[in-house]
């Protein structure tokens, strides 16, 4: 990320995106698709995997071309590459499952403008050899997918009383419908961020009194 940072070990490079710089919970990037399609765990996971695929593909290509592309046109090149992989993934999803494709709708194509991907291309892939860049992208992508899944799962459990389509509670469970509606997306992401803030603040300053926000 920050240029001139000391070299990270491979494992650290991988874990960077999954935990320390998690794109969803720490950097709060690429939120548009995150919230819109996270009404169920399956949708969230499919979206996460699609993003991971695009991230890996574009990172590889950007990294391979890093010494060829002139500075002036780099952003244009990145966007072109990303759009290519998004188109590819769009067709792949259509081929694999139309049901998922319909559920995700235009949001698959909106992966193009996901800041996480362009951010990775610009900040990391363009400066590192393919191996490292891929490792970093894998971490980021997995971190993103986990974040999405965490939101989708909570929304599905509370909003529909199910996980992956299987009913979790008895028939008496009254679903919190609001959770699968737009406001629920904001609330659940907000709650997760609270949880992360709380964990971090506890780690950072164990002396300071902290309000116990036992969310989720």
């Amino acid at each position: 990320m920050i240029p001139g940072q000391k070299q990270l070990s491979n494992l650290e490079e991988l874990l960077e995106g999954i935990w320390k710089q998690n794109p969803v919970f720490v950097m709060v990037l690429g939120m548009c698709p995150v919230l819109a399609v996270s009404v169920s765990a399956v949708n969230a996971l499919s979206m996460g995997l699609a993003t991971l695929f695009v991230l890996l593909g574009s990172t590889l290509l950007v990294s391979l071309l890093r010494n060829v592309v002139p500075r002036e046109v780099r952003i244009a090149t990145y966007i072109l590459i990303i759009a290519t992989f998004v188109t590819v993934v769009d067709y792949l999803i259509q081929a694999i499952s139309l049901a998922v494709y319909d559920a995700l709708g235009a949001f698959i194509q909106l992966i193009v403008v996901n800041c996480v991907i362009l951010g990775r291309a610009e900040a990391h892939a363009s400066k590192n050899p393919p191996g490292r860049a891929l490792l970093n992208a894998l971490g980021m992508g997995v971190g993103f997918a986990i974040g999405l899944f965490a939101i989708g799962a909570v929304r599905e459990i509370l909003g529909a009383g199910k996980l992956f389509g299987f009913a979790l509670f008895g028939p008496d469970f009254q679903p919190w419908v609001i959770m699968v509606l737009p406001p629920g997306g904001f609330f659940v992401l907000g709650a997760w961020l609270l949880l992360f803030n709380w964990l971090n603040s506890r780690k950072a300053a164990p002396v300071k009194p902290v309000e116990g926000h036992a969310h989720v």
Binding site: L65, E72, T77, L80, Q94, A160, V177
Partner: protein
């Protein structure tokens, strides 16, 4: 876009280099996209067909193959690319023997939060709508989605009257959504209490679509019945058009007089009879 960024850059890469790079990248991207497109074309088409069949079989039980048609002022044609102006897309479902089982078309209208799209089955013999399925909607979960879970509401579509008027230009009675418990005529839809707006959207969508489709369709109904040589499963002993006697009276223009649809009771449709005949159909 690149040309714009040339002047301000200090060491300035020559334009030729930039164009070369962009050209190279564009070529790679083009190859990737076309490969993906060509590679998935078949699977996507198969998937789409499967999804369409599943949806149509659900509203027309007993069917085993589906053909798409476009019905317009000029007549009925097999669906090609896109739907021409003024025409309506129509799905004709055939059973194993290749005889027409029923027709299905889509209707859409604005619901509570977004457009509600439904697929309805039309039975030409009864001149009635005999089943609906939801294609897409974004209505409030737990309220709007009753339109496909509420048994009483679905009962409306066991024999919803869409007989044409005497001049064959429009429906004799427009499909109408009435307040819950107010259904009196076979062309009315009894709304679900609390989800009236969504129900109205369903009714409006069906009405608009049927008003447009049925007058165009009726003169050509024969073509759909007879002109389908049961391609998927070639039957040597064919199914000549004469297997459908008794429906003939229909084309002779006396449509309005025959409201002979007693609520045929057991016309199963809501059930998940998504027949596993997909294999046979393709």
């Amino acid at each position: 876009m690149n040309a714009a960024s040339v002047p301000p850059s200090q060491p300035s890469t020559p334009s030729a280099a930039m164009i070369r790079t962009l050209g190279l990248v564009a070529t790679v991207c083009g190859i990737l996209i076309v490969t993906a497109y060509e590679g998935t074309l078949e699977a996507v088409a198969a998937n789409k067909k499967l999804a369409l069949e599943r949806a149509v079989f659900k509203v027309i039980p007993g069917a085993s193959s589906v053909k798409e048609f476009v019905v317009g002022p000029t007549g009925v044609q097999p669906a090609g690319n896109g739907v021409p102006e003024g025409a309506v897309k129509l799905y004709a479902a055939y059973d194993q023997a290749g005889s027409l089982k029923g027709l299905a078309a889509e209707g859409a209208a604005k619901g509570y939060s977004d457009t509600v799209r439904v697929l309805y089955a039309y039975d030409p013999e009864k001149q009635a709508i005999t089943g609906i399925g939801v294609v897409s909607m974004r209505e409030t979960p737990g309220i709007g989605d009753k339109i496909y879970t509420d048994a009483a509401f679905l009962k409306n579509f066991e024999a919803l009257d869409v007989t044409l008027s005497a001049d064959l230009k429009s429906l004799a009675n427009a499909v109408k959504v009435v307040k819950h418990g107010g259904k009196q005529n076979p062309w009315e839809i009894d709304a679900i209490a609390g989800a009236t707006v969504t129900c109205k959207a369903v009714g409006k969508g069906i009405n608009e679509s049927a008003q447009k489709l049925l007058p165009l369709l009726l003169p050509h109904l024969d073509k759909l019945k007879a002109g389908e040589p049961a391609r998927p499963t070639p039957h040597p002993a064919a199914s000549p058009p004469l297997s459908k006697r008794g429906q003939g009276g229909f084309d002779s223009g006396s449509a309005s007089s025959q409201r002979l649809n007693p609520p045929q009771p057991p016309f199963e449709k809501g059930g998940s009879r998504a027949s596993h005949a997909e294999g046979a159909a393709s």
